[in-house]
């Protein structure tokens, strides 16, 4: 098993950042799988095989969304920008620019560190039980 999701020495990273990096890696893998299924379905002539792949791709959609939601909950600035872009109508790039500008300015004006919330980030401890 590789540890490619870490860009810095893992031992130097706090637990919270390692979890964040794992979920980022997972998000990437789900997005890749969605793309792979899309390609396979595009060339697959058998309708039954296509249906199975469509079902499998649906699973990847779900996994991607769960990963994304977790990351957004842990990263208020990312969440705020996402809220300005996701599920909107109109020009995506325009929404992106506006959302980023408003969110960053808002955070800066409140003196909030861009990296995340001010909580201790303890959250759910079920995996950490000894």
């Amino acid at each position: 098993m590789g540890f490619d999701q870490y860009h810095e020495p893992p031992a130097e990273l706090p637990d919270r950042t390692r979890t964040f990096a794992r979920l980022c890696a997972s998000l990437t893998e789900e997005a890749e799988a969605i793309g792979w299924y899309e390609q396979r379905m595009a060339v697959e002539p058998d309708r039954d095989a296509q249906a199975i792949m469509r079902d499998a791709q649906g699973e990847e959609f779900k996994h991607f969304c769960m990963d994304l939601e977790f990351l957004l909950r842990r990263t208020p600035l990312w969440r705020e920008i996402a809220e300005g872009i996701l599920f909107t109508e109109g020009d995506i790039v325009e929404h992106g620019e506006e959302a980023e500008e408003e969110a960053v300015e808002d955070e800066a004006s409140r003196g909030v560190p861009v990296s995340g919330s001010e909580s201790l980030g303890i959250g759910d401890l079920r995996e950490a039980t000894s």
Binding site: R73, R110, G111, V112, S117, E118, S119, L120, G121, I122, G123, D124, L125, R126, A128, T129, S130
Partner: protein, 266 residues
């Protein structure tokens, strides 16, 4: 600036990192409830109540109108104040490794105990029913003899299975019971801790704030902890010698499946 007012405190970034790290280190081992029940959130400081999905009919409605009011469980704000000497913070900035943070440690313990007690014992004043008091199963007395703990825990697991609650199960041990377990080896030297872990098949945790112990189903949506603002350190005020701070969180807790736990009394 958030309501925690951290930017107003005479504390450097390194000082805040020191305080946050110390608080995390002290809180994590003691937050037993979070190791056993379902956790959702954090939903932020502005989140005030948990949706219960139920309504109460309104008796005094206008003619021809059926009215019902949504029922919610308000979140409780809990805060544990503490002080830090400014000389200690200055020493930390100089690189001191033995900074005196005793009051922070005590505040962290008080908050963890309050959270565990609310979840396992209940807190009537804020509308929280605890796991132990909600259980319809007869409590099992742990007694004085630690070597009989496995029998009592196995009986609790049997009661859960009998009620149709499948595992994994977890065990929250109050401080006294936990110490007894750690100190005891059974015949042949096998640690009691490992034996209990095998019986429940899930996590076993030290639970300050719990009297006796509780065996419960872990996960599955049976016990629901909702976090508003997760544990954070905020700033109150300061003088020339001292900075006054506080640890704070908001949460609610509810039991969805009372029969998914058995209380073991001291």
């Amino acid at each position: 600036m958030s309501h925690l007012l951290r930017e107003q405190a005479p504390i450097t970034e390194a000082g805040w990192n020191l305080l946050d790290d110390e608080a995390r280190e002290r809180l994590a081992p003691a937050l037993a409830a979070r190791k056993l029940v379902d956790f959702s959130g954090p939903r932020g400081w502005g989140h005030s109540a948990t949706n219960l999905g139920r309504v109460e009919s309104v008796g005094d409605s206008p003619d021809g109108i059926d009215a019902a009011q949504r029922r919610v469980l308000p979140l409780v704000e809990v805060r544990a104040p503490f002080s830090v000497a400014r000389t200690e913070l200055a020493d930390a900035d100089r690189g001191a490794e033995d900074v005196e943070l005793e009051e922070l440690d005590q505040a962290a313990h008080r908050l963890a105990v309050a959270e565990n007690a609310a979840v396992f014992n209940g807190w009537g004043a804020v509308g929280i029913k605890g796991i132990a008091e909600s259980s319809p199963h007869d409590p099992i007395a742990l007694g004085e003899d630690c070597e009989r703990y496995p029998r009592h825990v196995a009986k609790a697991v049997d009661a859960l299975r009998g009620a149709g609650i499948d595992g994994p199960y977890g065990l929250a041990l109050g401080p006294e019971a936990h110490t007894n377990v750690l100190e005891t080896s059974q015949h042949g030297g096998y640690p009691l801790l490992e034996h209990l872990r095998e019986i429940v098949g899930g996590p076993l945790t030290w639970a300050p704030g719990v009297e006796g112990a509780v065996v419960l189903r872990v996960g599955g949506g049976h016990f629901l902890f909702e976090s508003g603002e997760d544990l954070s350190i905020g700033y109150l005020d300061h003088d020339v010698d001292t900075v006054r701070l506080y640890l704070e969180e908001t949460f609610s807790f509810r039991v969805a499946t009372p029969e998914a736990a058995v209380a073991l009394t001291p």
